[in-house]
C-alpha cells in the first residue's frame, strides 16, 4: 500500500486559508489503513476544522479507494450536491487521490491533508515500512525477495557499503542492513552465487517519470 502520514495541523490550516466551506475526502484503502483518511480520521478532521472556524459540509468516503475509478465516480455522483456547495476539498489520502479529484472535479480546489511517503507494509499497528522503490525493473528473484533499492539506504546493487555493522545500517541503528538480510536469505536458500558476481550498472530508464503503461497486448498468451 501507499504509506501515508497526516500533515501537521498548522500546515493543513495554512493550505485552507481563505476557504471556509470544506468537504473532506477519505477512503477505505490506504487512507484508512494508514489512519489518515478512515471514517474516524474524517470525524477528527471535521472536529479540528470546526474548532478552527471552518464549516465542514460533509465527507466523501470512497469504499475501496479513490484510485478505483468506477467506485470513485459513482460516490462523487451520489454526493454531488454537497461537493458543489464546497469552496475547498480536503483530501485525507495519497497524492494520486488528490490529483484524481482535481481531474474529476476541476471546478474545485483540492488540497492534500497527508503526505504520501512510500510503498510499504504495516508491521503492527501504527507503523509502516518501505519495501518497494517502484524502479520498474524488479530484481527480487535474485535477491531472495528483499529489495536493495528500497531497503538499502543508498540503494546500491553491490552492497553492503562499509557502514554495515552488526546487521544494521550506518544511517541509523533501527534500520536493518538490507544487504545483511539479502545475504542471510540467499545463504539459507543456497543461492549466494547471485551476489558473488558484480552486478552491472542499472538501466534507470524504466524508473523515470512520468510513466505511462499501456496494458494492451501485454498479457501472457
Amino acid at each position: 500500500m501507499i504509506a501515508l502520514r497526516l500533515k501537521a495541523p498548522e500546515k493543513i490550516l495554512e493550505a485552507l486559508e481563505g476557504h471556509e466551506k470544506i468537504v473532506l475526502f477519505g477512503d477505505s484503502g490506504c487512507a484508512q489503513l494508514c489512519d489518515v483518511g478512515g471514517l474516524l480520521q474524517l470525524e477528527d478532521m471535521e472536529d479540528f476544522l470546526t474548532r478552527n472556524g471552518k464549516t465542514v459540509l460533509g465527507a466523501v468516503f470512497v469504499e475501496g479507494g479513490i484510485c478505483n475509478g468506477p467506485v470513485f465516480r459513482s460516490t462523487v455522483q451520489e454526493q454531488r450536491a454537497v461537493i458543489d456547495s464546497a469552496d475547498a476539498l480536503l483530501v485525507q489520502a495519497c497524492g494520486v487521490a488528490v490529483q484524481t479529484i482535481v481531474e474529476h472535479i476541476p471546478e474545485k480546489e483540492a488540497f492534500p491533508a497527508a503526505d504520501s511517503m512510500f510503498l510499504g507494509v504495516s508491521r503492527g499497528r501504527g507503523t509502516h515500512s518501505e519495501l518497494c522503490a517502484m524502479c520498474g525493473d524488479c530484481i527480487l528473484h535474485l535477491t531472495g525477495g528483499i529489495c536493495p533499492l528500497a531497503r538499502c539506504a543508498k540503494g546500491i546493487l553491490n552492497g553492503p557499503c562499509g557502514g554495515s555493522m552488526n546487521g544494521k545500517c550506518e544511517r541509523d541503528e533501527d534500520t536493518d542492513c538490507a544487504w545483511q538480510l539479502i545475504y542471510d536469505r540467499l545463504r539459507a536458500l543456497g543461492k549466494l552465487d547471485n551476489i558473488r558476481k558484480v552486478w552491472e550498472m542499472k538501466d534507470w530508464r524504466s524508473s523515470h517519470g512520468p510513466r505511462v503503461i499501456s496494458h494492451h497486448g501485454g498479457a501472457i498468451a
Binding site: L157, G163, E170, K197, V198
Partner: protein, 250 residues
C-alpha cells in the same frame, strides 16, 4: 574542496595525489567527465568510494545520487581505459589510471565484504585503502579472507586525539570500530593531570597507539603500507612520521 582541484594542487607541488570520487554525489555522466578532466590534469591514481549517507553529514537536506555504486564506478573507469565511454563511443586517446577503492574490515557480513574486495578487483581496483584499524585481530582475519587476490592494501591509520574523539568516532562515524580498551587507554593517559597537560599527554598516547598499530598491521600478510589519515589535526601527521622514522632507525 573538490578532490580534483586538491589533487591538481598536490601535483603542482610535485607530490602524487590519489583522487577520491564518491558515487553519492555523481552520476555516470559526471564521473566520465571528471575522469577525463583528471586525466587531462595529469592525475593518475583514482579511488572510488560509495560515500557516507548524507543524513550523517553536514548537509542532511541534500539528495543523494547513487546512479552507480563504487564497484560500478570502477567498471566505468576500466571501460574508459579500454578506449570507450559507456555509450560505446570510441575515445580520442585512451586514459590510463591506477584504480583503487576501499574496504572496511569491521563491516558485516565479513564474507560478503571480502567478496566485495574481489568484485572491486575484478572491476579494476588494484589498490585498497582500509577503514581505520584499531582492532588488529579482526583486521588480520579479514586480510586472511582476501589472501591471493593480488591487490595492494594500505591499512588505515587514524591518529586519535583523545578519548572523547575516540568515543565520538566509535559511536557516530560510519564503519568505525574502536575497542573499549583503546578508549580507556587514552582516558588513563591523562589521569591526574591538569586540562592542558592531560590533553597533551593523551595526544601523545594517541600517537603511541597509532605507532603500535602501524607496527602490527605491517606484519599482517598482504599489507603493503598505511593510509595515514588526519582531519582537523594535521600537525600530528608530522609528529607521527617523525616518531615512525625514529623507530625505524632505532
Amino acid at each position: 574542496m573538490s578532490s580534483i582541484a586538491a589533487s591538481h594542487l598536490i601535483c603542482d607541488v610535485g607530490a602524487e595525489p590519489i583522487l577520491q570520487l564518491s558515487t553519492r554525489d555523481r552520476n555516470r555522466i559526471l564521473l566520465e567527465s571528471e575522469l577525463y578532466g583528471a586525466h587531462a590534469l595529469g592525475i593518475r591514481n583514482v579511488l572510488f568510494v560509495t560515500g557516507d549517507h548524507t543524513l550523517l553529514g553536514t548537509h542532511p537536506h541534500a539528495k543523494m545520487v547513487y546512479d552507480l555504486d563504487s564497484i560500478q564506478a570502477l567498471q566505468l573507469a576500466s571501460e574508459l581505459m579500454h578506449g570507450r565511454d559507456l555509450a560505446g563511443k570510441e575515445l580520442d586517446g585512451t586514459p590510463s589510471f591506477y584504480l583503487g577503492s576501499t574496504f572496511n574490515p569491521y563491516a558485516d557480513p565479513m564474507e560478503l565484504h571480502a567478496w566485495r574486495v574481489e568484485k572491486k578487483r575484478d572491476a579494476g581496483a588494484q589498490f585498497f585503502q582500509t577503514q581505520a584499524v584499531y582492532d588488529v585481530g579482526r583486521f588480520r582475519d579479514f586480510m586472511a579472507q582476501i589472501r591471493g587476490l593480488g591487490v595492494y592494501v594500505l591499512a588505515g591509520i587514524y591518529v586519535l586525539r583523545g578519548p572523547k574523539t575516540a568515543r565520538f568516532m566509535d559511536e557516530r562515524v560510519p564503519g568505525i570500530y574502536i575497542p573499549e580498551e583503546i578508549i580507556e587507554r587514552l582516558e588513563k593517559a591523562g589521569e591526574g593531570l591538569s586540562g592542558k597537560e592531560a590533553r597533551a599527554r593523551r595526544r601523545e598516547e594517541g600517537i603511541a597507539i597509532a605507532l603500535e598499530t602501524t607496527r602490527e598491521v605491517m606484519r599482517v600478510p598482504g599489507v603493503h603500507g598505511i593510509d595515514l589519515m588526519g582531519t582537523g589535526w594535521e600537525p600530528h601527521i608530522t609528529r607521527f612520521i617523525e616518531s615512525a622514522s625514529g623507530q625505524q632507525e632505532g
